[in-house]
């Protein structure tokens, strides 16, 4: 199998789904002639035409709303939000329309669309090109929120999302696009939505993460093994909403210790929900308090290196939290 980057895995998923199903189309800012600011959609307009890879006006509201209407009328739109920081103008469309349409029509009107969102810090993007605002959507029942951590999962989850009948917010971390490679099948495959993955087995402590942070968490787990022989189980949530709680609760029941790692700010981040679920449903299993490694509660990620470094969870911060939890 060829080694493939995260970005190429996503491009392959889009190309394959467009070839497989003529209802699938792409719409967004700069996605056509330019192939997207990160080149995720490079070559797709040449291949599928400007009717199926639409360079939209610079307006997130209509990018998502036109996708909702088109999805209602039988299409499978894959709108792109260039940066997660730009999604607020589409909030009515996503939260009041897409998330509620099935519910408010008692299942008779639906909008199967997959909103691809580029998110995340660590690239010096500053306040408006770094944000992780997954929590806004996790708190909106009716939306599925997916955030893959690897090329294999990115391709399989995106294909599954496009084929799924619910509105999906698909968060792609810009730092992952070209930083890791993995064996990715050239053939068709999907990765199940709403199913977490055990990315590393371990018996001493469970680390729960997703997205780019999952890669750092794996590095931290390896470091723990090298330094102290501790066996860290690493769970990749993959889908943040609806959450697969059984996979991490099973691991917690084995390890009795938990660290949750995410890039979104702390308050009401996914770590808050994971911690609450553990407290409610696995309280007797715990030998130590649940520990969170997250972004701090500041409005966004500042641009200059020391401030950005302060914001971002790192291998060192994760290792420190794992040690603290093990030493409790």
């Amino acid at each position: 199998m060829p080694l493939t980057t995260y970005i190429d895995a996503i491009t392959s998923a889009l190309r394959e789904e467009m070839a497989r199903d003529e209802r699938v189309f792409i719409i967004g800012e700069d996605v056509g002639a330019m192939g997207g600011v990160f080149k995720v959609t490079k070559g797709l307009q040449e291949e599928f035409g400007s009717d199926r890879v639409i360079d939209s006006p610079l307006a997130e509201g209509i990018i998502v709303s036109s996708s909702i209407g088109a999805a209602m009328a039988g299409m499978r739109p894959v709108p792109e939000i260039q940066f997660a920081d730009f999604i607020a103008p589409a909030m009515d469309s996503i939260v009041e329309q897409a998330a509620k349409l099935r519910y408010r029509s008692a299942g008779t009107q639906t909008c199967p669309l997959t909103v691809r969102v580029c998110y995340g810090g660590g690239t010096g993007g500053g306040l408006y090109h770094s944000q992780t605002n997954t929590s806004w959507f996790i708190q909106t029942p009716g939306l599925m929120v997916v955030a893959p951590s690897s090329p294999y999962d990115a391709k399989g989850l995106l294909k599954a999302a496009i084929r799924n009948d619910d509105p999906v917010l698909f968060f792609e971390h810009k730092k992952l696009y070209r930083s890791i490679k993995e064996e990715v099948p050239a053939d068709d495959y999907t990765v199940p939505l709403m199913k977490a993955a055990i990315k590393r087995k371990g018996s001493d402590v469970t680390a729960i993460s997703h997205g780019y942070m999952l890669q750092l968490t794996l590095q931290a787990a390896e470091k723990m093994k090298e330094e102290s022989g501790a066996e860290v189980a690493v769970i990749d949530l993959r889908t943040l909403a609806p959450l697969d709680k059984d996979t991490f609760l099973e691991s917690v029941a084995r390890t009795s210790r938990v660290v949750v790692v995410h890039e979104a700010n702390r308050t009401l981040g996914i770590g808050a929900e994971v911690s609450a679920i553990i407290a409610e449903e696995a309280f007797d299993c715990l030998d130590a308090p649940v520990t969170r490694v997250t972004g701090p509660d500041i409005p966004a990620i500042p641009a200059c290196p020391p401030l950005e470094k302060f914001y971002m969870p790192s291998v060192e911060k994760i290792v420190a939290a794992l040690k603290r939890t093990l030493d409790y």
Binding site: D165, D166, P242, R254
Partner: protein, 362 residues
């Protein structure tokens, strides 16, 4: 008192003349337009009566006074055509053919309503006839309707979308995003702007500095026309023309219909913010008696016909109310249904409690 705003734009004036110079509408169409207006008003006045009697909980947003616009803009749509309504377009269900039984089940928030008791009275959709279930966030329906029109075009269907909103909607970004996108992509959609002079308590002059809202269409490269929204013939002709163009691939149109809502924003709004004189002026322009006079002139009127129509409508409404009141409420746990394409009942209702060391083997 707010007088009806003048129609100043020369472009719009020219388009008006095109309509006025055509042959008069046939008597059958005129009688249908009248009959529908009378039905819409009869249904809404009955709903208002039911509200005052406390027969249903909630609220209602009547379009009484605006029937010429409601009927003229939406009569003769095909089943495959889509209506994207606002909170004040409940009666467009009558125009599309939604059974009154389901409409009243919706008013009573019962299981037999198209949304099975979820939406408040203001938000009624009906999937089998392509009426989008609306939301309270103003102008959103135009944006979704624009997406339906995009799909119609991509799928090479001849179906059109009629998207309705009030003049207040033109202050929102999504209104402009919708017209702009529809213009760029030449979509088969008709935007019907019901300028009833008041957005809840705020007058039209505080929404926009223009006299004719249809002039905003020029900014998006689409046709714009202003018509007397209390003249059902004018609205019908403008709408049919726009629908025909949209269906034929000739792009979108914005039709501003200048009209007036007789009652408050909703049944709990006494509308003290406007003058009695203004209301009386507009009541003197009631589209229903105006149409009666026109039919008389055309020799197509009999008072007995109106009596027959009213008796027929009252019977249909009585039957619908009986059906609705007999319809049950949904079971409480149905609140968990239709969140996703799969059921979340099991997950929400049956939580596991985890014990330590369920398995020690790795």
């Amino acid at each position: 008192m707010t007088k009806p705003q003048s129609i100043k734009s020369p472009d719009h004036e020219r388009q008006r003349e095109d309509f006025d110079s055509r042959a008069p509408l046939g008597k059958t169409i005129l009688r249908r337009l009248y009959s529908y207006m009378l039905k819409c008003r009869t249904v809404e006045e009955r709903i208002r009566l039911l509200f005052r009697q406390g027969r249903f909980s909630g609220n209602y947003f009547a379009a009484v006074g605006q029937e010429a616009t409601e009927v003229g803009a939406t009569m003769d749509l095909l089943a495959e055509d889509t209506i994207a309504p606002s909170h004040r377009n409940f009666v467009t269900h009558i125009m599309k053919g939604t059974p009154l039984t389901l409409m009243f089940a919706h008013i009573f928030l019962r299981k037999d309503s198209p949304d099975q008791g979820r939406c408040a009275q203001a938000h009624c959709g009906y999937a089998p006839l392509n009426i989008i279930t609306p939301a309270s966030t103003i102008a959103a329906q135009l944006a979704i309707g624009t997406g339906v029109a995009l799909a119609n075009k991509m799928q090479k269907k001849a179906s059109v979308v009629v998207a309705l909103s009030g003049e207040g909607s033109t202050s929102l970004g999504l209104w402009h995003e919708s017209l702009n996108f529809a213009g760029v992509h030449h979509l088969p959609i008709v935007f019907v702007l019901e300028n009833n002079l008041w957005a809840e308590s705020v007058p039209a002059r505080l929404q926009s500095a223009v006299d004719d809202f249809s002039i905003k269409a020029q900014a998006y490269g689409i046709r714009g026309i202003t018509v007397d929204g209390n003249d059902v013939v004018a609205v019908y002709r403008a709408s049919q023309d726009a629908i025909r163009r949209a269906r034929g691939g000739d792009g979108p149109t914005l039709i501003e219909c200048k009209t007036y809502r007789w009652y408050g924003h909703s049944e709990i709004d006494p509308a003290k913010y406007r003058t009695v004189e203004e209301l009386e002026y507009w009541k003197s322009r009631d589209p229903i008696p105006a149409m009666e006079r026109y039919l008389q002139q055309r020799g197509s009127w009999a008072e007995s016909w109106k009596e027959e129509l009213l008796a027929e409508f009252d019977k249909e409404i009585d039957d619908a109310i009986e059906f609705a009141e007999k319809s049950p409420y949904p079971d409480s746990e149905e609140a968990l249904d239709h969140v996703f394409s799969f059921s979340i009942r099991e997950r929400e209702l049956n939580r596991k409690v985890w014990a330590p060391q369920i398995s020690s083997s790795e």
